[in-house]
Subunit: 357 residues, 2 copies
């Protein structure tokens, strides 16, 4: 029997209800594949602010650090929106990424054939789309210094942030991306703004150098504005995309929205060593929290990503992914992905159907 310590961060809004489903699924899968999970739950985000005043208490971070993988649901809500930025739920997420040095964020955006009609793009445009965005997650303008709002000599305020990357930070995320592209179709597109930004020029130069180590990967470059256009114009031209923290934030969300069903998309955030964090792309949806309406499938698929990338259990991961396909093929849907002729179920009932499958 393999044993794994999993830290659960249910967070806010629909977080707890979708986490429950994922945990139940993991338990069933664990039995089937002889894996024993030891779960511990710790607070993050708004839930943590309410309990301790901080969005990521030191104890939560320590417990995450001392586990084999972290499963996160979602954070944030209207309730905490008026707090000063540093004390808001999002701060907990940024602190978790920094604290665990999760420099590589993997965001797949894959069209699920059963749900292709949910896309706002024409069927022939999104058919077969299968993009992996590899986003740098602990550098760039998110963490660069100096930062802050300062008074100028004339007394007016001046806001400053710094976008910064070193060669080693670029190489580190570059390697993750080249390796991912190698396992996929061998096409890697690096996105930057090298016609304007110095940091992008270093990014492009470093990626180009790195390409020599991966002869089987075909590297191309796009400016971020053009990449945003191309994602809309002809998304199937992309396989793996690598980019910095800010551009990755924007483009991975755009790529996710191409599928039309962000309630279905998982993500993984990985460091060099230590546990990874696995979480759905969607938010905490405070408007439907506690109503058993949430779609738990992105959370369940995040658990599958955890098995695959975090715990090296690809067979168990496959099994979960196949079960999700199966219930979709059977026409079971939550409200967010409902379409005529399908059967609409709540969060819990979809979970039960999954466990049966």
């Amino acid at each position: 029997t393999q044993q794994f310590r999993i830290t659960l961060l249910p967070g806010d809004g629909i977080g707890p209800e979708i986490m429950n489903v994922a945990v139940d699924v993991l338990k069933v899968v664990g039995k089937k594949f002889d894996i024993e999970f030891h779960f511990q739950e710790v607070p993050i985000g708004g839930a943590a602010i309410d309990l301790t005043g901080e969005p990521l208490p030191q104890e939560s971070l320590e417990k995450c650090r001392n586990s084999d993988a972290v499963l996160l649901a979602a954070i944030g809500g209207y309730k905490w929106d008026s707090l000063p930025p540093a004390q808001r739920p999002e701060g907990g997420l940024l602190a978790l990424r920094a604290g665990l040095e999760l420099f590589a964020n993997l965001r797949p955006a894959k069209i699920i054939p059963e749900l292709i009609d949910a896309s706002t793009l024409k069927k022939e445009v999104v058919e077969g789309v299968d993009i992996l965005v590899v986003r740098e997650l602990t550098g760039g303008i998110y963490f660069g210094k100096p930062r802050g709002v300062f008074a100028t000599e004339t007394g007016e305020k001046r806001g400053v942030n710094t976008m910064v990357y070193t060669e080693s930070e670029i190489n580190r995320i570059g390697r993750v991306a080249f390796e991912a592209a190698q396992k996929r179709s061998g096409k890697l597109c690096s996105v930057d703004k090298a016609n304007v930004l110095d940091v992008s020029q270093l990014w492009r130069e470093s990626m180009t150098k790195l390409a020599a180590e991966y002869p089987s990967v075909e590297l191309s470059h796009l400016y971020v504005d053009n990449a945003a256009m191309q994602l809309l114009r002809a998304p199937s031209q992309f396989d793996t995309i690598v980019t910095g923290n800010l551009f990755g934030d924007i483009l991975s969300d755009a790529a996710a929205m191409l599928t039309g069903s962000i309630g279905m998309l998982p993500s993984a955030s990985l460091g060099a060593t230590g546990p990874g964090v696995f979480e759905p792309v969607h938010g905490s949806a405070p408007d439907i929290a506690g109503q058993d309406k949430a779609n738990p499938l992105a959370q369940v698929l995040s658990a599958a990503m955890m098995l695959r990338y975090g715990l090296n259990q690809p067979t168990a991961a496959d099994h979960i992914e196949k079960s999700v396909s199966l219930i979709l093929q059977r026409g079971l849907r939550t409200g967010d992905i409902m379409s005529p002729g399908m059967k609409q179920l709540g969060c819990r009932a979809i979970g039960d159907a999954l466990i049966q499958a």
Copy 2:
């Protein structure tokens, strides 16, 4: 007779051929509305590099400064792609923006009913879309200092750019946007990344304060990642969008691509005083340059924007815009917007049809 001095910057690629069409159209419209245009042509971009070694020679900038409006076509091409960034054609564009203090970039993205099928989005999603992106153009990370690639103590390279906005820079672009929104539907959406960036917090705070001066405008805020999603999910929720230089670069291109026909989109860049610059959103398309295949309509519509926003000649602008609609209604198309049953014409022939109309 009104007299205007117009500086023409044909630039590179398809620039000269589409500029010719626009100038011919302006001449005809000038006769009709009793306006006399004095045109002077100066080099920018690759053409200027070839002539003088610089993408924006001082003389070109001076001539632009001493005119009533500047009509720009397109710059750039493969030929200059291997030059160091500061000496590339794009540098001429950035120098022109800075030199004329063109802080406000207006980029309309409006669905043209005749061309709605060109969009990759479903008809019901893009029907009626009419977005104006107001992008700050002389500040933010494009011009912030410090910038550069520096050696660290360990000898590795470190790329740095600085995103910076002062309150007065934000207020200046904010006023342009609030006024534009007032003349349109009264809805303004400010886009930032205030959950992560200090400069965005100042941006949001300043926009919120400014809103008090425009009680008829309804201000909302979105994070840039969410804005990219929403543009794809439900673009008709937007009317006027205001944002910084980098986010505006990305979002205005995404908004443009929603229409499916970027060969049709003009833009205006305006300063507090002095001449504005009017140019198509599309690039220099070096692959089809000189082949009489280019679509000149965005250039012609940029001339209309020049008449409206730069020279205060709304009647003449209307006339051009109506003529463009007319030839589209008659089924005339260039290759980029061709569809079955329509009549395909070259650049010159479309221009002639327009002049007839």
